[in-house]
Structure formats: structure tokens, C-alpha cells
Amino acid sequence: MSQKSEKLIDKKGLRLDGRKPNELRPIKIEVGVLSNADGSAYIEQGKNKILAAIYGPKEVHPKHLALPDRMILRCRYHMAPFSVQERKSPAPSRREIELSKVIREALEPAIFLEYYPRTAIDVFVEVLQADGGTRCASITAASLALADAGIPMKDLVAACAAGKVDDTIVLDLMDTEDKIGAADVPVALMPNLDAITLLQMDGTLSLEEFEQAVNLALEGCRKIYAMQKEALKARYVNVKEVEE
């Protein structure tokens, strides 16, 4: 795991891309980018480029999958063949199937599923370019797309990862840090309700380090939430003014 051939943090305490340990990558979020979808969002987090689209609520087919008391959330996380260095097979891999489930479970607590019984809602997450931390960026984008689709939600979901690199706890790991580093802790948060909807850990951390990493990730989530808010505001407040 810890390959020390390359130093991930230099003497000044800066990371490979010149960030401080508690600094996020530059993030650009846009809402309502796809006209055919009911709701959509696009996020660029460092070199990550991710599109999220929502379709629904719609009738469930085959009908036996429908639930009588609530709607079902179907999620597909998919990486484009050109999203990584080596061509990725477009068929859903084991990892993509797992991430689809993880993203679905991170979004489910934020939605009023019981408002639309016997229907389904489809969430499509397409990773156009991947550079570590795509699951978090996907959750961030998908929750914005849900809000853009006008689906009643308890809260938005913002997600961010923290981890350990060269014995330092750092925020928002990129691909190389994720691969060479010691641990990775992705966290998804509903900021207003102060509830965590996703918490995973990959690698080894001591109890103190884990707590430190989670707190750093939560701090990152709150920063991302502020950006989500700005993105929705830019979409709806400015558009309104132009129309009037």
C-alpha cells in the first residue's frame, strides 16, 4: 500500500497538486444542463467530470417491482470507457454495481419516497472523467439533479472524502493519493439535518485518525453544500430575472 518512492506531501506540507491538507479541489457545479431529463446536474471537481440525470417519477415496469407505499429509487453509476487512463469496458463492473447501490442508499434518506407510491425514479450518473472521489462527487451532483427535478426532499446531500496520506489526514483525495495513500473515508452528509447518509472506509486508520478524518470530511461536505446552494441559486434566481 504505502509506496514511498514518491513523496505525496512535500517539505512545505503541500500536496502533489499544491493543495494544503485541508483544501478541496476547485469545484464547478452547474444545474439543469440536460433538456431531455426531468432534472440534471454537472460537476467538475478537480479533474473529475460527472453528469447526473433524473427521470421520473414514472410507472414501474415490470409491475411486481412497484412498492404499494412508496416509490423506488433506481440508480445507475457508470463510467465512460474514456474516463480513465486505460480503456474501461462499458459493461457495468462489480465496482460500478456496488457504487450504484451505495449512491442509492446515500440519496434515499433525503427523499420523501412515500409521496409517490407505486412509481419509480431513475438516477443516472455518468462519469466522463475520473480522478478519485467520484462516488462523493456523484452523490453531490445527483442530489442537485433531484432538487432540479422538483422532487420533495428532506435535505440536499453533500459528499466529500478524507483520508491519510504520508501520515497526514487530508481532505478530498485525488486518484494518486487514493491509490498510494493509507486510507480513504468517503462521507455523505445532509447538512441541515446534520445526518450522515454514507460512511465508508478503505485502508487502516487508528481510532483518533478516523475521528479526525470524519470531522475533516464533514467540514468538506459543508463547504460543498455552500457551492451546491450557489449552483441552484444561479440556475433559478438568475433565470427568473431574465424571463421577467
Binding site: N36, A37, D38, G39, Y55, G56, P57, K58, E59, P68, A110, F112, Y116, R118, T119, A147, D148, A149, G150, I151, P152, M153, K154, D155, L156, M190, P191, N192, L193, Q228, K229, L232, K233, Y236, V237, K240
Partner: protein, 193 residues
């Protein structure tokens, strides 16, 4: 919070999950939900704080997430017709086009006020139909066309597929001359789907 800060809050842009107040000061209205005594917004919109009636609601800036409800006017394509029933694929609710579709059923007793002999005289597969949802019992949307602006808006010839033209009581095909029957709306062939 002082009254001044509340005044500033009214008309403010809010997101799902944004805190609007507590149940002791406001009655939660549309676009809001209550969790452990605190009122939050559940949609993207503008917060409206009504101090006279002590109500708080969120005016939606996003219009989405529509499903058929009792009373909504829907537009759909007839997918199959039996002697007493017709199945309709609903693709538009009000003026919102759906990305998927819902299935509704039109029963012969809900077609018109007067007696209707056969469903085949009402619509045929492929026709575009405007109807009203009258019930959602047994997990199916029951439709009705008992109104002069409800019924078939576009009909197609069962022989050649050309769009039918209305002629007095009947419908006729300008291409092959076939005479058919439909329950049409008053704006037949004029409306934009």
C-alpha cells in the same frame, strides 16, 4: 429571532432542508415539512412568511415530479381496445410532458352520459385521447371522457393510418374514404399535443 430578520427572510430563496421556523410560530403550509418541531422547506423555491395568518409556505421555482391525481386532465395514446375497456398510455399530465408513462383505463360507462354501444365506436388503438382521472382505486387510473372537451383529439384510420377528418356525426378518412366512429372533442384536430 427579531421581526426584522423575519421580514428579510420572506421571499428569500430556499433549498430543500432549509429551516423556516418552528411550529410554535407558524402553521406549516405547502412546500414545507416538520421534523421534531422545526419547519423545513422540501423544495427549491421562495419562502413566504405570512405574519397575518401565521403561515409559512414555499412558492416553488421548479415545476416537476407530476403523477396523475384524481381530477387531473391527462393526454394519452390508446394502446388497446376491448368491447368494454380501453387502455391508455398517459404521456402528458396537465401541460407537463412525462419522461415515462402511466397506464390508465377508460371504461365504457365513463365515456359519455348517454348509452354507448361499443368501445370500438369510441376510440381505436393509436388514437390520442384527452381524459380526466376520476379514480385511482385498485392501483389503476380510471379515466373519464364525460365532457365536450374530453375525448379523442387525434384519430387515425384503422385501414390506412391516415388522420381522420370529422364529418357531422361520423369520421371519414380523406385518403381511403373509410367511415368510422369516435367520441371526439370539440377541438378535434386543432389542439397541439
Amino acid at each position: 429571532m427579531s421581526l426584522k430578520s423575519y421580514k428579510e427572510k420572506s421571499g428569500q430563496f430556499v433549498l430543500p432542508g432549509e429551516r423556516l421556523g418552528v411550529i410554535e410560530e407558524f402553521i406549516p403550509n405547502s412546500g414545507t415539512y416538520v421534523k421534531s418541531g422545526v419547519i423545513y422547506s422540501k423544495i427549491v423555491g421562495r419562502a413566504l412568511l405570512d405574519f397575518l395568518n401565521k403561515r409559512v409556505s414555499v412558492y416553488p421555482l421548479v415545476h416537476g415530479a407530476k403523477i396523475p391525481r384524481v381530477g387531473s386532465i391527462v393526454l394519452g395514446q390508446v394502446s388497446s381496445v376491448q368491447s368494454e375497456n380501453a387502455a391508455v398510455r398517459i404521456f402528458k399530465i396537465g401541460n407537463k410532458l412525462l419522461s415515462g408513462f402511466f397506464t390508465g383505463i377508460l371504461h365504457i360507462s365513463d365515456v359519455q352520459l348517454r348509452y354507448v354501444e361499443s368501445m370500438y365506436d369510441v376510440c381505436k388503438p393509436g388514437d390520442i385521447l384527452r381524459a380526466k382521472v376520476i379514480s385511482e382505486k385498485n392501483r389503476t387510473y380510471h379515466l373519464s371522457t364525460k365532457d365536450k372537451n374530453l375525448g379523442v383529439v387525434y384519430a387515425f384510420c384503422s385501414q390506412c393510418g391516415y388522420m381522420l377528418a370529422s364529418k357531422k356525426q361520423n369520421m371519414y378518412c380523406p385518403r381511403c374514404g373509410k367511415i368510422e366512429k369516435r367520441k371526439i372533442t370539440i377541438d378535434y384536430g386543432k389542439g397541439i399535443v
